[in-house]
Assembly symmetry: C2
Homo-oligomer: 347 residues x 2
């Protein structure tokens, strides 16, 4: 993880950054709705120090939109297929827009039945997963989600990429505390982190991945140029990657990571895959005091010596950004302003 402090230069407020990103999205051809959703998401990652999904991603968003590979105007089709079962055709748009469209229905389902499952297909996901689950935990629910992606991860014992980095996230409310939020790739390293290492000219640790011939390498460029990442945790991590591939890629009716084909869409970067979300109201489960039980578990983890609870670093970054603005390199900010301008000129 490259820390926020490494590139502190100028400060921008969350609202100003969102406005700037919205302008870029709209001028790249998205609807106003989608621009609001993606700008909130991307600016939120930058604010929280989740830099591999922050403004660093903007060129990828823009190039993908301009290539015609992903639709910024898609209107998702949301169906409540059963009392707890929602399925969504993102119609080749961004998963976040699909999720936002389904959000009222998901919340109604979980209020009425204690559980909601949302199966999103024909969707693109190019960001972190924690923004998709954290709001449910803020409202007292347990939520988990997963997406598959572009085939760039080798199954344990194999030689070729089959899985995407296939992240999984979950969030849970905790009494007297912010929610506990986990978001992690099932690859040894997230793809965005590999790209940050490549940009910074830093080697990745041993065991991170292989080159195009299947040979181990610590060169992030080799991993990105036809090579692949390993799964975390050997065969057990590979099983978790498989779990994500099945739920996000198959149960949703989406595509598998190895089925993405960018041919004919130069510049396209967003994985077209699927996303599954499950939200549970813990008060239905048999615990009368779920959030205080979670507080007990968190205290136990800290007492056992765990130095930080999942999500805590992001919350600290968020608080700091709220006090003194989001630190951004001046050159990056200028680049964003030019992107908005460049796009406006073209349309």
């Amino acid at each position: 993880m490259i820390e926020a402090d490494d590139r502190e230069d100028v400060r921008i407020t969350f609202e100003d950054l969102k406005s700037l990103l919205r302008a870029i999205f709209v001028s790249s051809g998205t609807s106003l709705d989608t621009a609001y959703i993606l700008a909130e998401n991307c600016a939120g990652c930058e604010r929280d120090g989740a830099l591999s999904h922050g403004i660093f991603r903007m060129p990828g968003y823009v190039d993908s939109l301009r290539s015609g590979w992903v639709s910024g105007q898609a209107v998702p089709a949301v169906e409540r297929f059963g009392p707890s079962f929602i399925r969504i055709d993102a119609r080749n748009g961004f998963a976040q827009s699909a999720l936002a469209s389904a959000d009222p229905m998901i919340r109604r389902a979980v209020r009425e039945t204690g559980i909601a499952i949302a199966a999103i297909r024909n969707s693109h996901h190019f960001s972190a997963l924690w923004p998709d689950v954290e709001p449910f935990a803020v409202d007292g629910y347990f939520a988990m989600t997963m997406v598959n992606g572009l085939a760039n991860v080798v199954p344990h014992g194999g030689r070729q990429a089959v899985f995407g980095t296939n992240p999984i996230a979950f969030a849970v409310p905790v009494e007297c505390s912010g929610p506990l939020v986990v978001d992690q790739a099932t690859s040894v390293m997230a793809n965005g982190e590999v790209r940050l290492h490549a940009l910074a000219g830093k080697a990745v640790p041993n065991g991170t991945g292989v080159d195009r011939d299947g040979k181990p390498t610590t060169d992030p460029h080799q991993i990105l140029a036809g090579g692949a990442l390993n799964t975390f945790g050997g065969y057990k991590g590979s099983s978790i990657a498989l779990f994500v591939e099945i739920l996000a890629g198959a149960v949703t009716g989406g595509q598998f990571s190895f089925e993405t084909d960018f041919t004919g869409f130069p510049g396209a970067q967003t994985p077209k895959a699927g996303q599954l979300l499950i939200v549970i109201d813990p008060s239905w489960g048999g615990s009368a005091n779920f959030t205080s039980r979670m507080a007990l578990l968190c205290r136990q983890l800290l007492d056992a010596g765990q130095d930080r609870l999942p999500g805590a670093r992001r919350f600290a970054n968020r608080a700091a950004s709220g006090r003194s603005g989001i630190p951004v390199k001046a050159s990056d900010l200028q680049r964003l302003r030019l992107m908005a301008c460049d796009q406006n000129t073209q349309t």
Copy 2:
């Protein structure tokens, strides 16, 4: 994994082994229903070469039942709390009995709504998880489950045990093939495997666990005697262990792994925790041909060089046991017969 071939000696049929185990359970004080369920489960593990949950576990079952810690007569209370939401109070009995009681309701819920969640509390689980999910996959459903246990696993970065070995399992149907079934502890090694290593006098690999002072050790006896296991896959595996602890221990209204207190129950070994099960009908999710999609994914994994699909070894062992009987050490078989006899004498 200690292989079936290591201890081949005599052969017993699945039916005969089940009868013998049933006699032991009944004479240890279980109801006939519970005896049938646990014998089927334990004999099935032995048959499939899942030896760490086979007949090796019988003394632990018997001692736990005789200690009064777990009830072999418990009648679970099953409630359909919502169209998709089933909650079960196992009433201090075995989770497998609770699940069997709820099975018709779970199947009705998934048929009617496409998803079922079963939250089991006040339950003991002393076996593998694959028997709890495989039958759903055989019937065309995706199923996942998880249980927490006894605190014997250190969270990543910590010094004291908080988690149980917290296994997670999932099963999924595959066209023209047996189901794909994953069952794995979130510790580096399953506790039963550590015990098999201790019995065999074999050291465990580096990184498996720590002694009672939190120092790394490869001595299985040190790990079992007040020491603890590590989670698999560093902090990411630790997050998966946390995921299991939250869903199985808290969402169900069960106990956390660190809350088990055997005091007053000498001989007790079964963890009193919780279990969560989610079953999904993939035909509700947006895929018109789910099982053939799964076949495509399996072919891709094999083509990428993965040498074996999850569950395949157990299925091969099962087929071999069906042809020529289950291989068991003569001395183990004699011990089982004496256990049944010994218990009968006492009651």
